[in-house]
Symmetry: C2
Subunit: 300 residues, 2 copies
């Protein structure tokens, strides 16, 4: 049995630890905090950091909301609209847009949901390098595989494939980045208890700093050109396209009167769109594009 | 009776005239042209101008496509999926993102559609000033009202209200700009023939340069500060949000395998997102926000 109070407390603590780790990394800017309440029940703590040494813009959001199950949710859960049902949802969401084009964008989400006698976990971590570096892509996926393997030998393959499918910009025929892991609606099964699901999600959450700090430290002071910066802004444009056109969390939030500023903290500080950019295949930009495909086996 | 060949020819000519007028305005950059074919029938001419003296990025697109009516279209037209039906669609679409923050963003679209014995016109013009200038807003709406009034006394009110409703960013509780006119599926009625619809749409198309050239000429050399530029980029962020989250043409195009680069020419060259920007109500930025509301009566 997993108690929602315990999950909520863990997520609150996770937000604190990650913010403190990111502030230490940045060394200049600190998070600005907004505490908000949801009229129908619950609320959240939005934390945004801007104009740092390492982080140009980033958000680490916590929320825990509850109340009467809204109709769209009943529909998704295939529960009759006439059923009276209360729900509870808590989670942590992170998007970091770094200043240096050689530091990757990272996104993490962990969430827990309850309605009636249903309960499940969801979440994932994925990486969007402006320039794909093969060693770093291998480090990232290998670390995620290790986290997954500790819990279940089938997790990594399943959740890596899910990320490839989910983080896909169809109209560009590109994945958003090099993927990672993604999972949703993980309830108890006959093989896996809900406590085991929770243990896994805790480890995913705790792996954020272990993964991101070395990637950021390694690249934060790399020299870059105006051309590298332009390419970074173009890749951020794609990131904005994914989040505004496809991302379920974003659309769900915007269409259900969520807190817009908390939802759209994921958008880049600055983004660029040019007509029909087409880098040479052998250029670093072209090689990056070639790596934005589903089904690449990065983990060692 | 309106002949589709004639409408198509008019739209081609309109694209040429507008491109030539905008190149003359800009005085530095010229349009780059891509001619594309649609495998299922028809094609288009995409023209994009970038890094000009006046226009930072702009697109003037023509297309004329035809073929078997796709299923989603039958659904929208409430035609049984089993019916064999061919369709024809032609139009011109324009979005101009100017360099100077005091020159407004403008959008225009005119389109004609035929399927079976159905045919109609759609389109509109709307203005998105980064800074709302009341005199210019009045000039813009008064000119549109004049164009509408020549054709029918009810058009301006009807199509202005339609634009207010359509160009609305719900999650921001803001209109995209100061609106303009918007109309769709204008078929013949007992009072208005399809030829009269066509005459109206022709006049809307021809009013583009008459409206935009003076607005651009008046403001193209205005001095602006870094703060004005930052605000321009933030407003462009909102423009991107509208186009990617709400705009029917964009979504329709992206979800039906349209030509992505032609559809997304509407996105700004550079856009900015900061967390929870909130200008003072008495500042020019705050006054602009106060003007981004439905139902303001600008026309004189």
């Amino acid at each position: 049995m997993v108690h929602k109070e315990e999950v909520e407390a863990f997520f609150r603590q996770l937000q604190n630890e990650i913010c403190s780790g990111l502030e230490k990394l940045d060394g200049k800017s600190i998070f600005k905090e907004d505490v908000w309440n949801r009229p129908e029940g619950g609320g959240g703590i939005t934390r945004v950091i801007e104009n740092g040494n390492v982080i140009e813009k980033g958000g680490v959001n916590f929320s825990a909301v509850f109340g009467k199950c809204p109709d769209f949710l009943k529909k998704e859960l295939e529960i009759p609209a006439s059923d009276e049902l209360s729900f509870f949802a808590t989670g942590v969401s992170i998007v970091i847009h770094p200043l240096n084009p050689f530091v990757p964008i990272i996104h993490m989400n962990v969430r827990y949901f309850e309605a009636g006698n249903l309960s499940w976990f969801g979440g994932g971590i994925d990486l969007t390098p402006h320039y794909v570096n093969n060693d770093e892509a291998r480090f990232f996926h290998t670390h995620l595989k290790k986290v997954c393997d500790t819990h279940n030998p089938s997790f990594y393959h399943e959740f890596k494939t899910w990320a490839d499918t989910y983080f896909y910009i169809k109209h560009r025929n590109e994945t958003r980045g090099i993927g990672g892991i993604f999972f949703d609606k993980l309830s108890a099964t006959k093989d896996i208890t809900v406590e085991q699901r929770y243990d896994f999600v805790k480890d995913v959450g705790k792996s954020f700093l272990t993964i991101y700090l070395p990637l950021a430290e390694k690249n934060r002071n790399k020299n870059y050109t105006e051309e590298n910066h332009r390419w970074q802004l173009l890749r951020r444009g794609r990131y904005a396209e994914f989040n505004l056109v496809y991302d379920r969390g974003t659309k769900f939030g915007l269409f259900t009167n969520g807190r817009t500023e908390s939802i759209l903290m994921s958008l880049p500080p600055l983004a660029r769109w040019e007509y029909a950019v087409s880098p040479l295949p052998e250029s670093p930009e072209g090689q990056t594009i070639a790596s934005l495909k589903k089904g690449i086996n990065w983990a060692v």
